[in-house]
């Protein structure tokens, strides 16, 4: 996870379900294929929601990394 270089960073800290997914969806619209979005979040629900959403929409979920008090999630646009 450490060597992933995100193209965009989205701060969803403090937001809870369903806001992170909706914001991610919106942020990804303006990105081009192959670019990576890093999401900062505090909602444990995102751990399930983001991989599920990525699978449904064909995007690639790259994984997560524990930060100090929040989690980094990485997803690559298809």
């Amino acid at each position: 996870m450490d060597d992933i270089k995100p193209d965009e960073v989205l701060d969803c800290r403090g937001l809870s379900c369903p806001m992170p997914i909706l914001k991610i969806k919106k942020a990804m619209v303006n990105m081009s294929a192959g670019q990576i979005l890093e999401v900062l979040g505090t909602d444990p629900g995102t751990r399930n929601d983001l991989p599920a959403w990525a699978k449904r929409t064909g995007n690639e979920y790259l994984g997560e990394k524990e930060g100090s008090g929040f989690i980094h999630f990485f997803v690559r646009k298809a």
Binding site: R13, S16, L22, S68
Partner: protein, 366 residues
């Protein structure tokens, strides 16, 4: 799992519900400040209150065990959404005499016709709530991340997180002891409800079971996994509870609530909007509270107090009598007919969800 627990708790003493318990807490608050003259039931002996308390403590223990407990401060906008969502939930659940559990899930599995109206109301309300959220994402600026700085302290010298699982286990042991104590002082029934509440708490926190998602996600992403889970648990529970009732273990009309009329329908719509905006239904709000989500703390407070005030007003104004009538389905369709009706509607719902999952015909999300 939820279906099985719903049968068990009803076999033990009474159907599962949320609102009466948290209203009891708000009643105490208003009694305490002198607004209400009449003393509310003792929250430690009042069964709905004990179920809710068990649920919160069970989810709290479960969140600790999974190291998922943390106070999470919401940005301002989210806090307001918690407030208004909570108010809507309070008013809606007052009209419907319950939330998604007490006015939809429990009545439906107890073969009360009001459950169907509540279901229609919730679906419609969830759709409206989602339209608002989508509008917000498109049109309102993202909250500034400045709050993150305040919610984050410097790294503490001792990492409390490592101790969380032990604390969680301690809470669970405490719950068992409390139930044992209740049993000894001849309040075994209430003590048992505390444990059942805790069991619900652990289960729904672990699988992040959420009625909001069941109603909202088909419109939002088309995803139907949780919606299908709700349907399956409905089918399991309705059959189990019908067996209890048909054999006379439980009064036939237990939990057949007198809101088959505008109460359930309008209450369902208002509650549906509220739960989507707040991000937690009756049960979902409680386990998120236990997880440390402060937005839902605000929602719970608004939910309980508005429900208490609205219920008092409905009763004193006599409007409560107009909400609807109690309709017990087996009186009209026979036992088999009533069960088939609930199972049939559930199956249709399941098929629509599955179909929408493939085609996204009803999906409006972004």
């Amino acid at each position: 799992m939820i279906g099985l627990l719903a049968i068990l708790i009803e076999a033990w003493s009474r159907p599962w519900g949320i609102v009466a318990g948290i209203r009891n807490w708000a009643d105490w608050l208003f009694y305490g400040v002198g607004l209400y003259a009449q003393k509310p039931d003792n929250p430690f002996l009042f069964s709905p209150s004990m179920m809710d308390l068990g649920l919160i403590l069970g989810s709290f223990a479960s969140a600790l065990l999974a190291k998922e407990f943390a106070f999470r401060r919401p940005p301002k906008l989210e806090a307001y959404k918690g407030l208004f969502g909570g108010l809507f939930m309070g008013v809606g659940s007052s009209l419907a005499l319950g939330c998604n559990v007490g006015a939809f899930y429990s009545p439906l599995v107890n073969l009360s016709a009001s459950g169907f109206l509540m279901m229609i109301g919730l679906i419609f309300g969830a759709y409206l709530g989602l339209r608002y959220i989508l509008w917000e994402v498109e049109n309102l600026p993202s909250p500034s991340p400045a709050f993150a700085a305040t919610s984050q302290k410097q790294a503490p010298s001792f990492d409390w997180k490592t101790a969380h699982p032990y604390l969680g286990a301690l809470v669970l042991v405490g719950l068992v002891f409390a139930a044992h104590f209740y049993g000894k002082s001849s309040y075994a029934e209430v003590g048992g409800l505390l444990l059942f509440g805790a069991a619900f708490g652990v289960v729904i926190q672990r699988c992040r079971f959420c009625f909001v998602r069941a109603f909202r996600d088909p419109f939002m992403t088309g995803e139907a996994e949780i919606g299908k889970a709700v349907v399956i648990s409905l089918i399991v529970a309705v059959i189990g509870i019908a067996v209890l009732k048909a054999n006379g273990f439980r009064r036939e009309t237990m939990y057949v609530i007198p809101t088959f009329g505008w109460g359930s329908l309008v209450g369902g719509v208002i509650f549906g909007i509220g739960m989507v905006v707040a991000g937690g239904c009756g049960s979902g709000t409680l386990w998120r509270v236990a997880e440390g989500n402060l937005k839902l703390w605000i929602a719970l407070f608004a939910f309980a107090t508005s429900n208490s005030l609205m219920t008092g007003w409905l009763e004193s104004s006599g409007i409560r009598q107009t909400l609807g009538t109690a309709v017990f389905l087996p009186y009209y369709f026979g036992w088999e007919g009533a069960i088939l009706l609930v199972v049939g509607v559930s199956l249709i719902w399941y098929l629509v969800l599955a179909w929408n999952e493939q085609t996204n015909k009803f999906t409006v999300g972004l």
